[in-house]
Amino acid sequence: MLTLDNLHLQLGDFRLEADLAITTGARVALMGPSGAGKTTLLSAIAGFLAPQSGRILWNGADITGMPPGDRPLSILFQDQNLFPHLTVAQNIGLGLDPKLRLSAQDRDRIEATLARVGLTGLGARKPAQLSGGQQSRVALARALLRARPMLLLDEPFAALGPALKGEMLALCAEMAREQGTTVLMVSHDPQDARALCPETVLVAEGRALAPQPTGVLLDDPPPVLAEYLGQTRRDQV
């Protein structure tokens, strides 16, 4: 279980409070207006932003001061998820050993994971030689190999087209189900949230609220979310 215990974040003038818990294996969407602090909250959980006060706990253990790479999680950023000078196989291999000392067995696992995400035989390529969707798959393959208990998605597929994005999210959900991964995903799209995340954390007005059932929240949204969703609906027309 991930517990945000009275967490206070500050970034310049911006403040965010969170005091909530997410059960192991849950798939949770983070929704809220732009600039409400969804990415900030993920950054804090991933270890890129030290909280002003409060604690972050995983299964009761305090991980507030733990270096990002040691935390029980993998994160996919909006961009820069791959090192462009390393091959696909090396990028994935970093998930097994940051020093890239890979055994023959490791290499087999990398090859198998590549096959699993539909990139068989592309291990020797550089990221620039892949399409956007394929690059996302490489990042996902690395997360799959790292097999950390949590997966944080900070809109890594935003640059892909709607069909490709849906496909990638479905792949994430499938992986998460297999490994029992807890997923936290920033989402702008209520349909994505409904399809993949049974629960939603509403981030608005300086607070991250406790998870609520996504369907209930979206069917009867509070004013701040309704306004935001109204905008998105108009945008989509």
Partner: protein, 526 residues
């Protein structure tokens, strides 16, 4: 994100600190640089005992230093404008090669430049031979005019590249608009060139002025006497001829003052880097006519820059195999010092550059060597070492150290933009994967920085190879570098051997630069 180095009031700050965990190597490098620069400066200040030891000749030296630097910079900039204009608006075979050649004087050993100018403009050079044939009075390459001539020779190409860079930075849209409006030469000059020059020339002037302020080897070979002695040369003379360490220290104090003021001025006005590659653009500024004028300008500039070097080659190559073993030994010493000082430069510059985006002190430490000229550093180190050892026995290690320190600011300037981009793009990803320490260095920092590292190493090796500075203070004649040996051959008027030594020095300098730059390019995984 919180600024780096905030006090860890909360255990969670550790998370942020992992992003700046490259702190230790950078801290050590900063402390070493600070000790190596501030120690000698302190020794100089302590020994100088104020400025009372200075005579009127020393005031003249200060005046000449400022005056010749200003004149050299103004002339270089003025001459650069037509050359850059011609290069910007003409397309001809060999243009790329000519622009590349313009980069060469930046790493050309200054003593070789002096040698080349003596070969062309000296008493038995071709210019005087021509004048004599015409029944005209001869010219001399020694004295103030020689110092300025050499400074223009060395810095005109730098100014040309900076102005050309300015042309390149003019948006293509504006050039297309100018063409669409049927601009003539006068309109292009008024609406495009002049605003660009106003932005570029102050930086070019200051960069050249700064270089000429610390001129030593040129003043040593072509200057001297009451009318053409720079402060650096005066330090050397106080040391070598008068054995007056107190006066040398007082002069060094003057030079420090000049350097610090100049450094502060340059911080206020950041000059664009002009020694990078890729000075080309698809569309040239619109132009009609002036073909002959441009051809003449480019021809004259090329002749001025190539003739001295060509003369050295013609004279020196036949004598190359007559070079005595002592010269070859000096060459070996120079290469060894250059390699050592290159390693030291990179070992200091890399951690500082990686730390600099988040720690201002790292940049300050890497810029510190600019407060001390080569001779100031030499004087300070001499004063520090003298009570303990005979400084002469340490001539070569001290030269290695001084050369590395002098190259450090250049290397830092080259590495910092890339290091900043690297941190902005990949710090979070590296941290999220637990990539740190040596693994990060091997898998992320070194590959991403291979190109600027190779280029920095090339510059550091070339600077060290051609340096004629600290070694002149410490050498006893036994411990020699190739530039020093060349200087002594010139002093003894053994011009054929000097030309041969100059050929060797040029070849080794360019070979080292080329090799390191090449290694960097090949190691770049992109």
């Amino acid at each position: 994100m919180k600024p780096a180095g905030a006090a860890p009031r909360h255990p969670a700050r550790a998370a942020v600190r992992t992003l700046t965990a490259q702190g230790w190597p950078a801290r050590i490098a900063a402390i070493l640089v600070a000790a190596a620069i501030l120690g000698p400066l302190a020794a100089v200040i302590r020994h100088a005992g104020g400025l009372s030891g200075l005579g009127s000749g020393d005031i003249d030296a200060l005046w000449f230093t400022l005056w010749q630097a200003a004149v050299s910079a103004v002339l270089s900039c003025l001459l650069a404008v037509p050359v850059a204009r011609a290069l910007a608006r003409r397309r001809f075979p060999g243009r790329g090669l000519l622009i590349s050649l313009m980069g060469a004087p930046f790493i050309l050993p200054t003593v070789v430049a002096a040698m080349g100018l003596v070969a062309v403009f000296g008493r038995r050079g071709m210019v005087n031979a021509g004048l004599e044939a015409l029944g005209l009075p001869g010219v001399t390459v020694y004295g103030a005019q020689g110092v300025i001539l050499a400074h223009v020779f060395l810095n005109l190409p730098l100014a040309v590249r900076m102005v050309l860079h300015g042309w390149q930075a003019v948006p293509s849209e504006r050039l297309r608009l100018a063409a669409a409006l049927g601009f003539g030469r006068a309109e292009v000059a008024r609406h495009i060139e002049r605003p660009m020059l106003r932005a570029v020339l102050p930086g070019a002037f200051l960069a050249i002025f700064l270089v000429c302020l610390t001129s030593f080897a040129i003043a040593l070979t072509l200057g001297g006497g009451p009318r053409a002695t720079t402060v650096e040369l005066a330090i050397y003379q106080a040391f070598r001829f008068d054995a007056d360490a107190g006066r040398a220290a007082a002069l060094a104090l003057v030079q420090i003052g000049v350097s610090v003021i100049a450094l502060l001025a340059s911080l206020a006005l950041t000059a664009p880097p002009a020694f990078g590659a890729g000075l080309d653009r698809a569309d040239a500024p619109p132009v009609r006519g002036a073909r002959v004028k441009d051809a003449l300008v480019l021809g004259a500039a090329t002749l001025f820059l190539l003739l001295p070097l060509a003369t050295i080659l013609l004279r020196g190559l036949p004598a190359l195999f007559d070079l005595p073993p002592s010269i070859l030994r000096a060459a070996g010493t120079s290469v060894a010092i250059a390699l050592g000082s290159t390693v030291l430069t990179l070992a200091l510059a890399l951690p500082l550059a990686l730390a600099a985006p988040r720690a201002r002190w790292a940049e300050v430490a890497g810029t510190l060597p600019m407060t001390a000229s080569s001779l100031v550093l030499g004087t300070g180190l001499f004063l520090i070492l003298r009570p303990f050892v005979n400084p002469v026995t340490l001539a070569l290690p001290v030269t290695l150290l001084a050369n590395a320190l002098m190259s450090l600011p250049f290397a830092l300037r080259l590495l910092m933009p890339e290091a900043r981009a690297l941190r902005a793009d990949y710090d979070r990803l590296a941290a999220s994967l637990g990539l740190r320490g040596l693994a990060r260095l091997r898998l992320l920092d070194l590959p991403r920085l291979a190109r600027p590292l190779g280029f920095s190493a090339g510059l550091a090796a070339a600077f060290s190879m051609g340096d004629l500075g600290v070694i002149t203070l410490f050498s006893d004649g036994q411990r020699q570098t190739l530039p020093l040996a060349l200087y002594q051959l010139m002093g003894a008027y053994r011009m054929d051997l000097a030309a041969a030594a100059a050929c060797l020095l040029m070849a080794l300098t360019f070979a080292l630069f080329w090799a390191f730059d090449r290694i960097g390019q090949n190691a770049d995984p992109r």
